[in-house]
């Protein structure tokens, strides 16, 4: 396949995914509202003490982000699987990893990026001190693409299953643990003026690794689900 064809194929896939996403935009807003609701539940559950909320803020926001992402992952490949488009994509001869990457990029743009953009609101609700806000946004900006990349593997593995959604959460949450630990540690450290660049650096390394490896795993998973 010529380089030009691959590039155009990628853009064509992205454009299609955006069009489809736009048509289902009400559906895509739900995980984001879920994000807001979950964060709201925490003060109601643990009390509105500002210091308590500030302490648990990084963890709460990140956990809510994980939950919201998992919600949006279930439908990642499902409709294409159900109407046969996925099969056609596999047969098309285009690199399946590229197709997986395009879908993942689209997913991040419509599901992950909004989380990053909403994080200042969440930080305000959870009383996160101002020192932590920038690092929170950075951690989410680096971390949510990883959530999409790894989540796509899970989505591809479970797409052919009837109750795939529940299993998907079970599969990806353990995989998300290192990310959660690094991100919340970075934000908490930033708040008390401790170094946080180490954690962010490891997260970037994780992002690069998943960017290069995850699409292939997703492609293999898609082939498996279709077989």
């Amino acid at each position: 396949m010529s380089k030009q064809a691959t590039g155009t194929a990628f853009m064509a896939l992205l454009r299609r995914d955006f069009l489809l996403a736009y048509r289902r935009r009400a559906e895509l807003l739900q995980p984001l509202v879920f994000l807001l609701v979950v964060v709201t539940l925490f003060p109601l559950g643990v009390g509105p003490s500002p210091t308590l909320l500030a302490n648990i803020a990084p963890g709460v926001i990140w956990i809510a982000a994980l939950l919201a992402t998992v919600l949006s992952l279930d439908s990642l490949f499902r409709s294409d699987f159900e109407d046969g488009t996925l099969e056609q994509m596999v047969l098309s001869g285009q690199s399946l990893a590229l197709i997986a990457l395009a879908r993942t990029v689209a997913h991040w743009l419509v599901a992950g990026l909004p989380i990053v953009l909403l994080s200042p609101l969440l930080a305000m609700w959870m009383n996160l001190p101002d020192e932590g806000l920038l690092i929170l946004i950075e951690s989410l900006a680096i971390g949510t693409p990883v959530l999409s990349l790894i989540g796509a593997i899970g989505g591809a593995l479970t797409v052919s299953l009837k109750r795939g959604g529940q299993l998907l959460s079970l599969l990806v949450f353990p995989l998300y643990v290192p990310l959660l630990i690094l991100a919340t540690s970075a934000v908490s450290s930033a708040v008390v003026d401790l170094p946080y660049t180490g954690q962010l650096g490891l997260m970037v390394a994780g992002l690069i690794a998943s960017l290069t490896l995850a699409p292939f795993a997703t492609a293999a998973a898609l082939k498996l689900s279709l077989s």
Partner: protein, 249 residues
């Protein structure tokens, strides 16, 4: 025939509703604009700044009417929803679902203006007190109703589901409010916008004017949205076809 009965019977007919609401809407907008201009003039220019809060009290003329509307609209949705479910009146279903976005808009305005009022006055953008928290929960209830409606393929079924959800939400709302208030006293949370001494009359009039103005906004917007929904649902029916051919002249 009894004229009142006849009126209600006629409003149930979509083309009749479409035609006459269309005539009413400009008047509603006119009254809204008049009240708003006068109310804001009184509130921003004539009324004094607050002794304790300073100029930021002027946000009250937006915040309080919006909060009142957010609750009133949800209550109306529940009542109309009840009528729609019990008597299966289609126009009621349409009005319920057309009210939801307007109510959500007022709730968002109430939350944002409240937050902006809180920062200069009490030092913080957000605090988990009874009123703000209940208002936020109300916003989620609105989102839920809207999302539920959009999830169905069949419009009448969707509207009935939304009506049921509104009723359930409305019944729950006082319970939610009181539980949040109790939770608040338990944790001794601070309250934003305490009910201080009675409001000065020079501030009361603009407040009431804005409160009335928002009702006219709701009326105009509601009818506008209801007409659109009727067109969408009935686009195959004769009255819409006739309307289309008339419009192209």
């Amino acid at each position: 025939m009894n004229p009142i009965f006849l009126f209600f019977h006629k409003t149930g007919s979509p083309p009749w509703f479409y035609k006459y609401s269309g005539k009413l809407i400009p008047w509603l907008w006119a009254v809204f604009l008049a009240l708003t201009v006068y109310g804001l003039y009184l509130g921003l220019v004539v009324a004094p700044a607050d002794y304790q809060q300073g100029e930021s009290v002027r946000i009250m003329y937006l915040h309080v009417p919006s909060a009142w509307m957010s609750m009133m609209i949800y209550g109306l949705m529940a009542i109309m929803g009840f009528i729609a479910l019990v008597w299966r009146i289609r126009i009621m279903e349409v009005l319920v679902i057309s009210s939801a976005p307007v109510g959500a808009a007022f709730t968002i305005i109430a939350l944002i203006t409240g937050s902006l009022w809180g920062r200069p006055t009490w030092g913080t953008y957000w605090v988990w007190d009874a009123r703000l928290t209940s208002e936020l929960v109300l916003l989620f209830l609105y989102f839920g109703v809207i999302a539920l409606y959009n999830a169905f393929d069949e419009p009448r079924k969707a509207a009935r589901a939304a009506s049921l959800m509104s009723i359930v939400g409305a019944i729950n709302l006082p319970i939610i409010y009181f539980s949040v208030e109790w939770w608040n006293t338990l944790h001794q949370g601070s309250s934003m916008g305490s009910d201080g001494p009675g409001i000065h009359p020079s501030m009361l009039l603009p407040l009431l004017l804005m409160a009335t103005a928002t009702k006219f906004f709701y009326g105009a917007n509601l009818l506008s949205r209801a007409r659109l929904t009727l067109l969408k649902q009935d686009h195959r029916k004769r009255w819409v076809q006739d309307l289309l051919s008339k419009e192209s002249h």
